[in-house]
Amino acid sequence: MIDDRTVARVARLSRLELSPEERDRFRHQLGDILAYVQRLNALDLGDAPPTARPRPAANVLREDEVRPCLSQEEALANAPVVENGYVVVPPVIIEEPSE
């Protein structure tokens, strides 16, 4: 059910570089786990709707008021590279290698 192509595709979607050993190991392990999870398919779920959270909580609102929050300095204090109040990253637009 899981082949090298799938592992590579999921790794790319996950933004995870994998070593060849990891790719191999994950192919086996994810295959085992997904095979185990397949037992859910044996279940007749009838009309059961999905439950995404244990307690339904919709529209939990508060007054739209200005409240104290982190300063820019505090918010950026943990960033690896900062310049003039911005976080710095390498070039964003670059052609992604195709599979």
Binding site: T6, V7, R9, V10, A11, L13, S14, R15, L16, E17, L18, S19, E22, R25, F26, Q29, L30, D32, I33, L34, Y36, V37, Q38, R39, L40, N41, L43, L45, A48, P49, P50, T51, A52, R53, P54, R55, A57, V60, R62, L70, E74, A75, A77, N78, A79, P80, V81, V87, V89, P90, P91, V92, I94, E96
Partner: protein
């Protein structure tokens, strides 16, 4: 007379009031214990003796009065996925090495308000993913009862700390059993409250619909005191519930007369160790003797909880952990030429194997073509599991069964077999999926290793399960046994035979 490090919060409070000891003396005694034990156990990732002593000194006078706050001068350990302003928060991950939280978790603010002294940050599986604390990037914690064995996980550090007298109380987090399973393995009390009972603000998110912070203690009364201090609605967490918080500790009872307990049939099925089964069945007989009416009940979908959990939790994790990419905080790889490489390489170098595995699994389950077959299906199974509990609670006030299929396993025994590791959570995950509270209370020993009894309650009815656990605890002596210290704990058979 017990050493200060082994006393309960309740006893310390009484001694403070009578002037028999002081928070400063207690913190000193605690750090002596930590120095003697922690090199061996590795319960802590970060300790700040000076800060703890400075805090203690602030309370030395005030605790003598009758009106000191409930946890004044009591030492508490925090699992290292709970944010603190003045110390590191690593989640057991290299990707957060060096991170300093700019804000404090609501539970920490509440603890400080209640007078508690934060001793340090305790070890856990990386991002709370695992069952043994072996997935910590900073090395495993060892079980105080036998250092060749795991303390359980993912709250292995705080739980081992409480068991070994390296903390009076601790907070852990429980996404699939991460408080209850280590509590069972280490012979202490651990509770996962109802989803929404305790604010998650400042708890580093793993699976947001399952995570819940809860107390770890050496007695049920102490766990009740700690829960009381942290529970209640918090405007900073929209999932925290506006439900009244009872005075749990004051309302504890020792009789179970009139209480209906359901024995979960599916929790005694294949895979349960015979010794554990025996201890739990005996514990249920004790509950019967205390006045409870005990009858078997079925949760027909219980065996589907674990596979559903291993879709839902990784799916939520894959989304929550997207933020660790070397941009706003945490570790960043060197010399990446473009942004995607920066993300992917940072995550390769910063995350351990289990975290990568779960991100991959979750991404797969949410990806186009698989979403309905995996994720949506798991959410529908979740509905059935919740309905099973609803049906059971129409007939029973609380449910009982084992916490784990076995006692603590050996270090290294399951690290290369993730599926086997997952199976140790088979009796704990159903509660997280349904959002229900559960407690583990010591109920016996098998081969010198502790066994836990799990009590499950209705949503927001922590009081009933605390009562069952307390009544059981007071009728037995398992909670009074402490693990061997220092050299005595080296290798098996380590503990005194029961």
């Amino acid at each position: 007379m017990s050493a200060l490090a082994d006393l309960s919060a309740g006893d310390l409070r009484e001694k403070f009031r009578r002037g028999e000891t002081s928070p400063t003396e207690v913190i000193r005694a605690l750090f002596e214990r930590i120095e003697a034990e922690d090199e061996r156990l590795h319960a802590y990732l970060f300790l700040d003796r000076d800060a703890a002593l400075a805090e203690a000194a602030r309370w030395d006078g005030a605790v003598r009065g009758g009106d000191a706050p409930p946890l004044a001068g009591i030492p508490v350990a925090l699992k290292d996925n709970i944010c603190t302003r003045h110390s590191p928060t690593t989640c057991g991950s290299r990707i957060l090495a060096g991170f300093r939280s700019p804000y404090e978790a609501t539970v920490v603010t509440r603890l400080r308000g209640a007078g508690a002294i934060i001793v340090g940050k305790a070890n856990c599986d990386e991002f709370a993913m695992g069952s043994s604390t072996e997935n910590s990037a900073f090395g495993p914690t060892r079980n105080p009862w036998d250092e060749t064995r795991v303390p359980g996980g993912t709250s292995g550090g705080p739980t081992a700390a409480v068991a070994a007298g390296e903390a009076t109380l601790a907070l852990g987090s429980d996404t699939g059993g991460s408080i209850r399973q280590p509590a069972a393995f280490c012979g202490v009390v651990g509770m996962k409250p109802t989803y929404g009972r305790v604010s998650r603000y400042g708890l580093v998110a793993f699976a947001s619909s399952l995570d819940q912070i809860g107390p770890i203690a050496r007695s049920v009364r102490d766990a009740a005191l700690l829960l009381e201090a942290i529970a209640g609605r918090d405007p900073a967490d929209s999932t925290s519930a506006d439900v009244e918080v009872p005075a749990y500790a004051d309302r504890l009872t020792t009789s179970l007369r009139g209480l209906r307990l359901g024995i979960v049939k599916e929790f005694f099925a294949e895979g349960l160790d015979a010794g554990v089964a025996g201890a739990v069945r005996e514990a249920i007989e004790t509950c019967r003797a205390l006045g409870a009416a005990c009858e078997e009940v079925s949760l027909p979908h219980a065996s589907y909880a674990l596979p559903a959990y291993y879709i839902i939790a990784p799916a939520e994790a894959s989304s929550n952990l997207a933020r660790y990419a070397g941009v706003q905080y945490g570790y960043r790889t060197r010399d990446a030429a473009d942004l995607v490489t920066l993300y992917s390489r940072t995550r390769r170098e910063g995350f351990g194997a289990e975290v990568k595995r779960r991100i991959m699994l979750g991404t797969y389950a949410l990806s186009a073509g698989y979403y309905e077959a995996f994720y949506l299906r798991a959410l529908r199974v979740r509905t059935r599991i919740r309905q099973d509990f609803e049906a059971a609670f129409a007939r029973f006030d609380a449910l009982v069964g084992p916490v784990t299929p076995t006692t603590a396993f050996r270090l290294g025994e399951k690290v290369d077999d993730p599926l086997q590791m997952y199976l140790s959570d088979v009796y704990t995950v159903p509660l997280n999926l349904a959002g229900l509270p559960g407690i583990s209370v010591p109920c016996g020993f098998v081969g010198g290793l502790p066994v836990g009894l799990q009590v499950v309650g209705r949503a927001f009815d922590e009081q009933t399960i605390l009562n069952v656990a307390h009544a059981f605890e007071q009728a037995t002596e398992f909670h009074t046994r402490r693990p061997p210290r220092g050299r005595a704990a080296r290798g098996a058979p380590a503990a005194k035979a029961p």
